[in-house]
């Protein structure tokens, strides 16, 4: 391990164990506030699911050991990275690229992150993002900080992006349409862009290994799940959440019904199909909105055979990144709880 003073100073932000991407369940467990807590205790605690088992409102029961391995991988990746001085300084203007940058870059490489990186409902690594300067995605801010590279999403700020390109800034865009299978590629791409290839390779291959392991636990019993967001919008075909549901060995009811992307699904439709799992999302902020009340609708609570709760760790499937594995893991655990894969009689 290198011990040059500059290096140690640069790393002081991200030295284990305090700031490392911490996937430990203790911190990331679904903390079902509002209705989700009600629902989780109501449906989980009383063990109403037909297959029995100790229902815990979707808390992933396994995987602590695996997470420890991931942590070790990150730690060793950090200890082998090169000296930060000659690495490009990067400015991220999108909450998804923020998190890839946070995972891969040396602290001294990070010029700034987008201000959404602090939002816990969008950014899994929001605590890690706290120490860095923030930008609100304006071209002027790029001029002031003169980074070597700007990374952003194809989904955001087209005008800013084209202005910056016209002014000869290096801008790299990351696509918004992601699936569990594109994530490793995105990690490697970001690694190559910011001179952290080795670290990216390590994280990406650990992710691929974990994903393959979880996929191997799939079986022919595929309970129906639905991701029912604010205002009754479902995450269906073409979304990251859809591929997570599929990777966890579940069927996405919304996709089965022919919905694609993010579309509102009438509550009546949901009730009439009685999905085994309803994944509702927690409110994005403390500020109330009527949109969040759909999760508390009595019709949803009356579904006796459905498990209803947040289930997915907060922010874990809002963006593509290695933490998406936590969403797959949580849903896999939930599936195994409600429908055993034991060989059929």
């Amino acid at each position: 391990m290198r011990t040059s003073p500059a290096d140690r100073k640069g790393r002081s932000f991200i030295t284990p164990p305090s700031v490392l991407p911490d996937f430990s369940p203790a911190r990331r467990v679904i903390a079902p506030s509002f209705a989700a807590r009600d629902l989780a205790t109501r449906w989980g605690g009383e063990g109403r699911n037909e297959t029995g088992g100790s229902a815990q409102g979707g808390r992933p029961p396994r995987g602590r050991r695996r997470k420890a391995l991931v942590l070790v991988a990150f730690a060793s990746a950090i200890s082998t990275t090169s000296y930060a001085a000659d690495l490009p300084r990067v400015m991220s203007m999108n909450v998804c690229t923020d998190q890839l940058v946070l995972l891969l870059a040396e602290p001294s490489q990070i010029a700034s992150l987008s201000d959404l990186s602090l939002d816990p409902s969008l950014s899994f690594l929001h605590e890690e993002a706290a120490p860095y300067p923030k930008n609100s995605g304006r071209a002027e801010e790029v001029f002031l900080s003169k980074p070597d590279l700007v990374v952003t999403g194809t989904f955001s700020l087209h005008n800013t992006t084209s202005l910056l390109e016209a002014l000869d800034f290096a801008v790299e865009e990351f696509a918004y349409d992601q699936s569990v299978d594109t994530i490793a590629g995105e990690i490697r791409r970001m690694g190559a862009l910011i001179g952290q290839d080795a670290k990216a390779e390590q994280i990406a291959s650990a992710y691929e290994r974990d994903l393959a392991d979880l996929r191997a636990r799939q079986c022919s019993t595929k309970p129906a799940a639905i991701a029912y967001e604010q205002n009754g919008v479902v995450l269906s075909e073409g979304t990251l959440a859809d591929s997570v549901i599929e990777a966890a060995g579940l069927t996405n009811l919304a996709t089965e019904l022919g919905y694609s992307a993010m579309t509102p699904l009438p509550l009546e439709q949901l009730v009439s199909h009685e999905p085994d799992i309803v994944i509702v999302s927690e409110p994005m902020t403390d500020a109330p909105a009527l949109a969040d009340q759909i999760a508390q609708h009595p019709a949803l609570r009356s579904l006796e055979s459905s498990r209803i709760g947040a289930f997915v760790p907060r922010g874990a499937w809002a963006c593509g990144g290695p933490f998406v594995i936590e969403a797959v893991r949580a849903l896999t655990a939930l599936r195994e709880e409600i429908a055993s894969c034991a060989p059929a009689r």
Partner: protein
């Protein structure tokens, strides 16, 4: 004859409203689901989703129709209507101001509290304006100003909310919808609305006397201030509670009294029950249409009532031009 017909229309439209929805339920399972029994999903859909929706459409329609008839009688102004004179938009603003700022947490009870306050303030303001200057036009212009102001303030509060979904809810608060309401909304609004109906109904005799003019009414023993108080409280309760759970739905209170008036003896008091029933029937019909006009995307019911009501309003204005100017 008029009241039984309108009552029957309300019943039939309530039944129709219960049978319309995105889930394909046949008649038998719908009825079984409504009165317990049958399969669980059908029961939940009927009792927890469609029944509250139909009940809210009926009762909010009744509130708006009744409030329209009473306000037209009290102000002796054919254009008075809770939507047009700014009562519903003030109620919306009151609900928004209390709910989205989180003053009362995320509790549903914040909504009617704010809406009632907003509606009451606006009715008081309008009565003060009407007392000072009795011209029909003044009241309508004041209402337009109040509607724009409270609409803008509603949008402002929703835009400033840190919750990213709040901005989308501008549509709900300005145009109203009955989508995915639940029985808790019914229990929240219905008692308040019912109390409002009683207060508005109690003003009937005074309204008849007022049609002879304020002085004649006083000489008949009508206490004007008491009548005003009844109407203010009744309108605030019935319109405020309805707006709190369904957003601002306009024009029902304008259209219905005019439609039923030719079939009555034209006394303000005999207009109240037909207007209430007609309002219920019209909102039920509009809400059914909102669900079936574009099958894949539900419309906001306020859009439909405005599509019916705005041309009607324009026609009334053109017809009454001589009186107005």
């Amino acid at each position: 004859m008029l009241n039984p017909i309108l009552g029957l229309a309300c019943l039939l439209l309530t039944a129709a409203s219960l049978l319309v929805g995105p889930a394909d339920l046949d008649l038998a399972s719908s009825i079984a689901g409504l009165f317990a029994g049958g399969d669980a999903a059908a029961m939940i859909i009927m009792q927890e989703i469609r029944l509250p929706r139909a009940l809210l459409a009926l009762t909010i329609g009744i509130s708006l129709g009744l409030a329209g008839a009473v306000l037209q009688g009290l102000l002796r102004n054919p254009l008075a209507e809770p939507g047009l004179i700014g009562v519903t938009s003030s109620a919306s603003f009151g609900a928004v101001a209390i709910f989205y700022t989180g003053l009362a947490g995320a509790s549903l009870y914040a909504l009617p509290a704010g809406a009632l306050a907003g509606a009451a303030v606006s009715v008081l303001l309008l009565l003060a304006i009407a007392a000072r200057n009795g011209a029909t036009l003044t009241l309508i212009l004041a209402g337009v100003a109040l509607t724009s102001l409270t609409g803008a303030l509603t949008s402002l509060v929703l835009n400033l909310s840190p919750n990213p979904f709040a901005s989308y809810e501008i549509i709900f608060w300005l145009l109203g919808s009955l989508r995915d309401r639940s029985m808790s909304h019914v229990w929240l609004a219905l008692p308040l609305m019912a109390l409002g109906w009683v207060l508005l109904g109690a003003s009937a005799r005074a309204l008849d006397a007022l049609s002879l003019g304020e002085e004649a009414a006083s000489s008949l023993g009508i206490r004007l201030s008491a009548t005003r108080l009844l109407v203010v409280l009744g309108t605030a309760l019935s319109v405020g509670a309805g707006t709190a759970v369904a957003g601002a739905i306009g024009f029902i209170g304008l259209v219905v009294p005019h439609l039923v008036r030719p079939f009555t003896d034209r006394l303000p008091s005999s207009l109240l029950v037909p207007s209430a029933l007609g309002g219920g029937a019209l909102l039920l019909a509009a809400d059914i249409a909102a669900r079936i006009v574009v099958p894949t995307r539900e419309l906001n019911v306020g859009v439909l009532t405005a599509l019916i009501g705005a041309p009607f309003f324009l026609w009334l204005v053109v017809r009454a031009r001589r009186e107005l100017f």
